[in-house]
Amino acid sequence: MTTTTKHETQIIVDPDVPLVRIIREFDAPVEKVFRAHTDPDLFKQWAGPNGLVNEIETFDCRTGGSYRYKSSGQGWEGWFRGSFHEVRPNQTIIQTFNYEEMPDGVALERIDFEDLGDGRTRISSTSLVDSFEGRDAFVASGMEVGVNEGYQKLDAILAS
């Protein structure tokens, strides 16, 4: 049932610290992968779950900058915002991430970009929150959408 690809995302849920780490490789040079994170016109095309559309209000991806955007679709909408604490071109983005309905639930995120050579890049994206309850809620968030997407994909696979 699982389709395997050479770039399947890896998830690490740390047992000792309330963080989640996502690791993924891309067939694109590090400059491109980095730009897809910092250019709002590119970022909005891929951020968030399938089926939601992003509208950017603010996106100033540089050290000391901030962002705010709305995701909507499937009868739902929500605002997300945060600060870009540290942005080092083609290396690292350290930022906060917050769903505005839960203003105390701020995640500290770190995205490291690693040039693998041959035009390939590895991303390590770490989200740290202030409690295991918060981390587990973070992991479980968006699950209604995720479950529906999963079933739709499964339907499509089964029908093919």
């Binding site: 998830i11 400059e31 479980a140």
Partner: protein, 45 residues
């Protein structure tokens, strides 16, 4: 012990769903990367 096993099982499912969401997001990023110009110019279509 039974309850702990249930919680662990639920958490494992959540983690797999979370991973799948991340994978879907990054497949869209794959697609965006393919649309970006191969040269170093801005894609200003």
């Amino acid at each position: 012990v039974h309850l702990e096993a249930e919680v662990f099982d639920l958490m494992t499912k959540w983690i797999e769903r979370y991973r799948r969401l991340a994978e879907e997001r990054y497949r869209r990023l794959d697609a965006v990367l393919e649309t970006m110009a191969d040269d170093e110019q801005e894609d200003d279509k």
